[in-house]
Amino acid sequence: MFSDVRHRLRALLRRGTIERELDDELRFHLERSIEKGVRAGLTPDEAARRARLALGGMDQVKEAHRDARGIALLDTIVQDVRYGARAMRRAPVFAITAVATLALSTAALATVLTLADTLLYRRLPVERPGELVDVAAIRRLGTTPLLSSNEAARLQVLGPVSYPDYLAFRDGARTLTGLAAHYPTAPLFVSLDGDGHEINGAVVSANFFSVLGLRPSVGRFFHDDEDRVPDRDRVAVISSNFWRTWLSASPSAIGSRLRINSADFTIVGVAPPTFSGMTSSPIEVYIPTMMLRVGYRWCEDALAIDCTALQMIGRLAPGRTQADAAAELPTLMPAAWAHAPRGENSGVAVTQPRGLSTDDEEPRLVALLAAVAIVLLLVCCANLAGLVSAQSAARTHEFGIRLSLGAAPRRIVRQLTTESALLSLAGGVAGVLLSRAFTGALAAMFFAVDDEGHPLQYGFSQTPAIVIATIGVALAAGVVFSLVPAIRIGRRPAGVQLAERAPTSRWSSAAWLLGAQAAVAVAMVAVAALLAASARTMLAGRNFDASHVALIRVRPRLVKYSPERAQRFQRELVRRLEAVPGVESVSMVGIGSVLGGSSIGVALPAWDADRRMTAGYNEVGPRYFETLQTPLLAGREFDEHDSIESPRVALVNETLAARLWPNLGALGATIVVGSVPRRVVGVVKDLSLRSRTQAVQPWVYAPFWQNPAQIDSRLAIRTAGDPAAVLPAIARQVNRLDPDVPIAETITLPGRIAALMRPVRVSATFVGYTAVLAVVLTAIGLYGSLAFAVARRTKEIGIRMALGAPRGRVLGLVVREGMTVVAAGVAIGLALALAAARLVQHLLYGSAESDWVFYASAAAVVAVVGLIASLLPARRAAAVEPLVALQCD
């Protein structure tokens, strides 16, 4: 028994030694056998032949010997792996290409999976997140021209509730152990020792932390009593990050004062470092719901029943399911909801909080990227199948010999599969590692700041499931691409290959794979170019020039400025900013934002009330269109004379002008904006960030200074040089005027557009990466196939040349073979590109007039790369010396 185990172990661990010993032993046997034959009068050759016959096939003996060692399966695998590793060392270019190809394509896949997990599937980093449910109000929407068709199709959105409504749900719910309220995006202007910043805060109910199952790092969370009386308990919990960066993680921070929106708060605790909120905007400071009036300023009274500010999250009671909660909570709905008008809360939805995505752009983006990653993976498989085919064809001789020596075909197939598995495992692991770099770059390039310049935190991380899935896919791809040559070998009758070493068949079996690769390459290049051009167009600005515009938002409303005081402040600020060196013009937006707006009903004076149409709406200061450099088509833009005392005026965009006054004549006409009749004094070009699938909106502008309630503003500042360089000086001017006035959204216009265009930029980058890879793979595949075909057909080429074919003909022959495939691929690829462009239509901006340039360029790029890849082996073919070629076997 003991000797048995010892032998098996030795057999396994000292495999090399044993194999060598066996070799020695068998050789000794053969030699003795031959000696005997010679002594008996045979010729040495004949003796050797007989000796080998008597012994049987070397490989068979060895195989039987290995079986006798009792570790056949494991041993075979170990041996195959070693053999595979040796085969790789022998053909390093093949191995490196295969591993790199797989790594680059599985890295793309792993990156998309990480993105999908983070945006759509990840649960909150809290205790038992599976028990948490989001409870939201359902609002039914009517159709307005502002909604794109698929937005309108859904006709309902989820919205927040008022504090009294929240109490009704909290106190009535039996299917939940707790229901918390939170307003997760409270802009809090926080100052500590004279250093003031706007940070993202949250207003939360006292039970928020206990419902989530969080424990404070230091100090405590809110007591229930601190969330009972409005405006009484000024207590705050800070995030671990805030504690570190503002208070250098000092324990004495607990109990210290913090000024929030001009009110003094006491810090009572620090949230755990693992939790930074439920959205991608990390929460730095938490205050109780009774302090909602400090954090929420869109209502007269933030705690009143008509102020819907709060979102709700609850934890299911033991044994209860989401369905139970979804059945119970609507019964607790306030009675008034039952007959709520359109656009107001009228139902209850219970969902699982998953992922950080808040809009429907992101699921679409993820789906698009996933599709691209899968296509890339298929291209990679096609390429590897070609490579492996060529590689195994080059090894036909080796396999032939092994088959003839008695190796089982099964064994060789297994050998090939092991080699592929080895390559794909290496590729998968490299892909996983590479994808870490990719997600890091993704986070830094696209997911670092939002369109208001606030830091974002997505915390991309590879879950074990993603790692396993990626490596699994790599292995599956490996099996797929090894099957083709493996099947061929399995079918091959033993012993016939030795003589027939140089088949002269064409390489057409791989041609369709190459054609497909070329087609995908064309489509990818075209789509990448379309997306990149779109992103560039938008960043530069369409009907405006973004490159030299800085933005800043001042919010005196947060510190309770009256309109009169705020307007004095705004006028003085504009005057001072215009004096800053490097500033060319200053303007502002009151309602809406630069390039974004709210909406308002507009009508002609003669219209009935129900004919009103909806238009985008901004209240803008003088020189607004000069600052954006938007061309004025007619009339003038607002100036200092358009004030509260002067007649009400308006500007309309081209689209609205064409809609209301099809026969021109907009200038001087009267338009009713909201309920105010205004005289149209100018028509401007359309200013829009809408993609090709969205119609350009009608838009109306009113003067900033004709709204007596004006308090906050978003300023747009045209600079002579880099706008980013002027931002600090601008912020300083605001601080100098009143250090208590909160500043936000200090960002350049290109920076803001870049954040808004994130889906386009992400997909442009991703598709661009895929396109480059697809082109390179096509080139490698083409070059590999042709080079291999040339090598195999050396003899044929030699004969042709010996019979008088000029070198040019030979060159042309090979190039034609390559370019036939490329041409077919390019033709199919162009069709594919047109189809693919339709799929990304929602990401394309600007007119489609010059799109053909991108299609043509894509076709040209792939054709030229294909030509180069064909020329190299063609030149080698043309250099064949007939005599040498005919002599080689």
């Binding site: 003991f2 000797s3 048995d4 032998h7 098996r8 010993e21 066996l22 020695d24 032993e25 068998l26 000794f28 046997h29 030699e31 003795r32 056998s33 005997k36 007989r50 016959l53 008597a54 012994l55 049987g56 096939g57 068979q60 003996v61 039987a64 010997h65 079986d67 006798a68 060692r69 009792g70």
Partner: protein, 112 residues
């Protein structure tokens, strides 16, 4: 194959017994074992040389024989196999079993 057809194929399992017997007297290398079996049986038994080595290994694993590298008669390095104590016991037991078996078979065949 050039081998005379008169030779007998070994019944399954008897190769082990023959190997044990062949190395019972002194340590032998593989080649000598196959030669010895053929010589003593006056070439009547045909040992498939290819199956000899796996069998040797099987016996070694079972602990019935042990192997050692040594110099052959013409001073070449060769692997020598010799019987272990367990191997001797097994040889005795198997020899007994073989005798009993062949005697019984003889009896049966002789009966008219």
């Amino acid at each position: 194959m050039a081998e005379p057809p008169s030779r007998l194929e070994l019944p399954q399992g008897t190769l082990d017994l023959l190997i044990l017997k062949a190395v019972a007297l002194e340590a032998q290398h593989g080649w000598a074992i196959s030669e010895r079996i053929q010589q003593i049986s006056k070439d009547a038994l045909q040992v498939q040389q290819g199956s000899l080595y796996p069998a040797l290994h099987r016996l070694e694993r079972r602990g019935w024989i042990k192997a050692e590298w040594g110099a052959s008669d013409n001073n070449r390095k060769a692997k020598f196999y010799e019987l272990t104590r367990a191997g001797r016991k097994a040889l005795d037991a198997q020899t007994g079993a073989w005798r009993a078996l062949t005697a019984a078979v003889d009896l049966l065949l002789d009966t008219r």
